[in-house]
Point group: C2
Chain length 486, copies 2
């Protein structure tokens, strides 16, 4: 029988905190009848408050079951423009949702993605350089599989980062090269931080091949400034790095003084034709929040044809992305147009969802910043806040005197214990900061702001009370374990 020792050591090494021990414990508690507020994962439709966009679901129902298009009894159930769009899809793609497609996805949807990029950025985009994927995750995986040549190759990733990156890099036998984001300056990226990371990596014999950037940020909620993106592109060029631009939160920007700028657009403006770019987008975030449909795409720039052919081959080994996810991408990039019957409802639903995210991001930011010993850079975008919290030092323990690995392990143990206690005592499920990476000497957790406003109010209140108790126990008894009852 296979034992753990028989398994790929790279698999054993890979960690994915978003579904780690804290969420696993939450499921156990829930099974025992406890109410859990899941703030561990950006899964909007797991909350009753996020309803799907009606237009998308109407269209999918019709393409799944085209008999509805032929039955006059179905006419009162669907707006005319949705029926017309479903018919056009089936004319252009008669096998509907039932057959494997081209390995890169259905051609007219790839064309629609290119047109979307063109409208968004005012730049040309090539449908042949767009691959539809099962969520952005599979696009990121493909890029990492393709770019890591051997065990010395490394990819720069932000600290904190979304752990898909560290997990995939570990799984494919590469090295993650962390660069620190500047918490004090709204998690922007400083060039010194990149330079320091790459020098350290080279000194350790690592060969950097790419840099991953998440904008808007996960878990930071930061929106990168235009000049920050320019700096990254110049840096990538200087060091011969490909760029992996994770732009799945591009619709999720909540502050008036920041705009989303795509790497594709900034590269085009700079006339940059030498840096290879992989840009990722997804139907799971934004306002669609269609995580369960696993739709996404990667757009490639400055990629020669023989490299493109290898990426196509990689896609073809798993045949193609799910067709329903491809159709969800189609709706994302080609929503109802002004003048169409569904337009008003679509806009109302979209704007309602985005306004609620913005209001909840602000609520959470204000509420948590008012808790003594807790602070955060209020999220400018995305679906998360990365909250910093302070704990009293433990008597006789000096983290600053430890080696870097020992200190990271000590701090991971501290933030894990904190998040587990928070879960046990309040039912709030968040992810320890060590799962994303954090500056030595700091402690964090990531929370989403997806629950309802009422739940977020409750969350802030319970969090404050919990933090006070936890700190007090630590300070007075040197232990955070609650005193036995009675």
């Amino acid at each position: 029988m296979i034992t753990r020792n028989d398994l790929n050591p790279d698999l054993l090494r890979a960690e994915y905190a978003v579904r780690g021990p804290v969420p696993a414990r939450a499921k156990q508690l829930e099974a025992q009848g406890r109410k859990v507020i899941y703030c561990n994962i950006g899964n909007p439709q797991a909350f009753a408050s996020q309803r799907p966009i009606t237009y998308l679901r109407q269209l999918l129902a019709l393409v799944e079951y085209p008999a509805l298009l032929e039955d006059p009894a179905a006419r009162p159930l669907f707006p005319g423009d949705v029926m017309a769009k479903a018919r056009r899809i089936l004319e252009r793609h008669p096998s509907g949702t039932g057959a494997y497609t081209h390995e890169a996805g259905i051609p007219f949807i790839r064309k629609a993605v290119a047109d979307f990029i063109g409208r968004r950025d005012g730049i040309p985009a090539d449908p042949d350089h767009i691959l539809l994927t099962d969520g952005a995750s599979k696009g990121v995986e493909a890029a990492i599989v393709a770019l890591l040549k051997d065990r010395r190759d490394g990819i720069l990733i932000p600290i904190p980062q979304y752990p898909l990156y560290s997990a995939e890099i570990a799984l494919r036998g590469g090295r993650a090269i962390g660069y620190h984001l500047d918490e004090k300056r709204h998690w922007q990226l400083r060039e010194e931080s990149l330079t320091a990371a790459i020098s350290r990596a080279r000194a350790e014999g690592t060969r950097p091949v790419a840099i991953a950037v998440i904008n808007p940020g996960n878990p930071t909620g930061a929106v990168l400034a235009h000049e920050n993106i320019e700096m990254i592109i110049r840096f990538a060029r200087a060091h011969g790095l490909a760029i992996l631009a994770d732009e799945v939160y591009q619709e999720n920007v909540y502050v008036s003084d920041r705009r989303f700028h795509s790497f594709a657009k900034v590269m085009h403006e700079m006339g940059e034709a030498a840096v290879s770019l992989f840009s990722f987008h997804s139907v799971s975030k934004g306002f669609l929040g269609e995580c369960g449909h696993r739709g996404g795409y990667v757009e490639l720039r400055n990629i020669p044809d023989d490299v493109l052919a290898q990426l196509m081959k990689l896609q073809s080994i798993s045949l193609c992305a799910g067709v329903v996810g491809q159709l969800a991408v189609y709706v994302m990039v080609e929503p109802p147009a002004p003048g169409e019957e569904s337009y008003a409802r679509y806009v109302r639903e979209r704007d309602g969802l985005l306004a609620a995210f913005k209001a909840k991001a602000e609520m959470l930011g204000r509420g948590i910043n008012a808790i003594p010993g807790m602070s955060l850079q209020a999220p400018q975008g995305a679906l998360y806040a990365f909250v910093r919290f302070e704990l009293p030092a433990e008597p006789g323990v000096d983290p600053a005197g430890m080696g870097p690995e020992q200190q990271a392990a000590y701090e991971a143990q501290r933030d894990n214990a904190y998040c587990l206690a928070l879960l046990e005592e309040t039912g709030i499920c968040v992810v320890p900061g060590s799962g994303f990476g954090q500056e030595p000497g700091t402690l964090h957790f990531r929370t989403t702001f997806l629950p309802s406003r009422e739940e977020i109010e409750e969350l802030v209140e319970r969090l404050g009370a919990f933090h006070r108790r936890y700190v007090e126990r630590l300070a007075t008894r040197g232990s955070a374990v609650p005193a036995p009852a009675g």
Copy 2:
């Protein structure tokens, strides 16, 4: 800019013939207005003759757009049992198709899969050992990623095989250990062939960790006998191998003297508790033919909990399988029951599709066996025939005098040239046998029998005429290139 030399050499090594140069050329010809008969891929719904099972599509439409369940106007459009089933799904899984699920899939669907295995085989099955995947391909990928520890590890695969196996093994840096199926005995597996393969591998310093078996066979169409499966299990036990049982064609058996036996059932009968088993199934084949929905599952047996936990972690990194594919799996394992309103229609559609496959398999078998210089073991199951064809020797070329690699390359060049000429001259797109592996000294191609009966008749006729011309050109002119016209 990234160049081909910057890419993962394992990606460069991986080959996937089903979407290789012959199908690529077919797409070009089609774009130029030529009619192509695509027999290269098991993609049933790419043919107008394969309609989806109505029940499945009705259910998916309702779960995608649950407003239909609340609108009395929708009642005449859907049978009552489908509406009731959609309601039960949404009661048990309120987020419907919109949210990420448990990394292993929706719990009640995993339970339904376990019940299905129990009914099919009369053995117990554990829902916690079932993982829902995006098609069987992703399950196979996960198993291979988990089992290959380093570059010396190898997995036994059949020759001929479905090239997913060789591609994934190459991509994950492992070694494929080919064992030959016995064409003369309906492609059954002989123990000597396994023993020879493993001895040769060990002699070359390869460490075998698993054996992949495809039953019913792809590309062979063979259905393994019960005693053949017992022999494989004993062999796996003797050599400490895990078994990867690809059983995606289990519904596709067309001969009365063969039945599908699952590895799970035979292992259970033998009381085998030491051999780790990964069994794969899919909604893409059988009679559903829902390739575009990318639904599948892997069932694990004799896998310790800490190994299971690692496989779960691997699933969690890409979040979860697409929910629509998970629902398609649900319909596969829990179709309408006798007495339900949809039952009669479901049975009629299912039996119609399976009867058509059987008739077309027989037609193709008879037709091709009547072509001089061509032969096949008429398919007992699956969706393919692996056709052997003879070409006259080229003057001055002695393949038997070549080294094994040189001979394989020579024969690959010959079967590729043949398949390309077949495509150019007749519009028939098949895959060269070298893409699957073949005995030295033999030439084959794989064809599906998915086109309509009329197209299969036409295919057999054109194939016979083409083969005569091709052989004649080779024999008289030493070249298969057609003489210039006019």
